[in-house]
Symmetry: C3
Subunit: 159 residues, 3 copies
């Protein structure tokens, strides 16, 4: 019991650049503090672990894949995104301060052993398939898996 | 002690269609995993347990009731809502995949014994009265009630 | 052990008027329930503990300081903000119901002994300095500090 690691579980619902930054900063910070970290990506958050492909088979799915296509590099901040330049500006500011990019943070998370699980129900609704995700992603899981993880966690967050 | 159920408490702040989906999926998933689940609806989340009526007595309250009136069926997704068709499109996609609608998820939550509590302070500010909620809703409570519930919970989320 | 206070930790990511209200209502409610409360302000949430000054040194930082300048009094609600009158209207409705303003809630939080910590990484990115915060704010901290606090907490929220 005493050598069991503390655990953090996180639902990543948002696909916004700034919220994904917060999610990965907290996740990697926890892993660096020797915690086990599990991230569940659902709805818009699924973009964070997608390959840079458009998705969708049906009409609506294709439309959504077109509107919300691309991968983590396409994430825009939740504020000032409508300026178009929001993403570009934040990247510049982060690089100038030596802060990792989202792609780098995601890789750091993987290097630290953090597990990425896509939520199967939101994949169904948004018409995203297992093969649309990066290879490091785990197989998709249902909500029961998340509940079980959260019950073993000292910290659980919804972002 | 050993036959005491695990517990999940949730603050539902958002009234967005997609976030309400996430909230009800997690809540019903936890209840299906034999947990006690309590949902506290506050601010925009109050819409999820409202009757389909406009609310408000004063000028601002009436305006808000008009702008934000209706019930859970009026919830729009946090993304692509400005297209107007966002709500309609998501409903179609969910139905096509056999995913429950928000109304059906809410009923499932009630059937599973999940308790819905409206937050009295945000009701005051937004000029929503106890009788504006569906009959299955519990009497309104203050923040102290939520804190007490969260202290007994293994999982607490703010959505 | 039995005289150790229960603890609540909160990441305040949002700078929206309504979410800050929810954050301060929960935080002060927990403190009033005799809990230790720690609030970590990050990204847009940093505005909640800023002085009413514009920030930024570089071009982008100055632009952001201009667009997102001012202090907690400038926070706008996450809905209906585009009407411009959203902030004014909500203040009126809150005052009419005898609900504290954000400034008053922040002061109540301080009076109840709640600690405000700014996140150093988001300060770096957004070009906000320690001296830009109100005097009651604690020195800035990294994510490791938050993880340590959350591990000692019975309730942890991301708002």
């Amino acid at each position: 019991m005493e050598d069991k690691k503390k655990k953090l579980s996180m639902v990543v619902f948002s696909g916004d650049m700034d919220k994904l930054m917060a999610a990965f900063i907290i996740a990697t910070g926890a892993a660096a503090s020797d915690m086990d970290v599990t991230m569940f990506f659902t709805f818009w958050g699924l973009r964070a672990i997608k390959k840079p492909v458009n998705t969708g088979k049906g009409l609506f799915g294709k439309m959504l894949g077109f509107m919300y296509g691309g991968d983590i590099r396409k994430a825009t901040p939740s504020k000032f995104a409508f300026w178009g330049m929001g993403r570009w500006m934040f990247r510049k500011m982060m690089a100038a301060k030596g802060v990792l990019s989202l792609v780098e943070f995601r890789q750091l998370a993987l290097d630290l052993g953090i597990k990425f699980y896509p939520c199967s129900m939101s994949m169904d609704v948004l018409e995203i398939r297992d093969e649309d995700f990066i290879e490091e992603a785990q197989p998709s899981v249902g909500v029961g898996f998340f509940i079980a993880e959260a019950l073993e966690s000292q910290i659980t967050l919804f972002i």
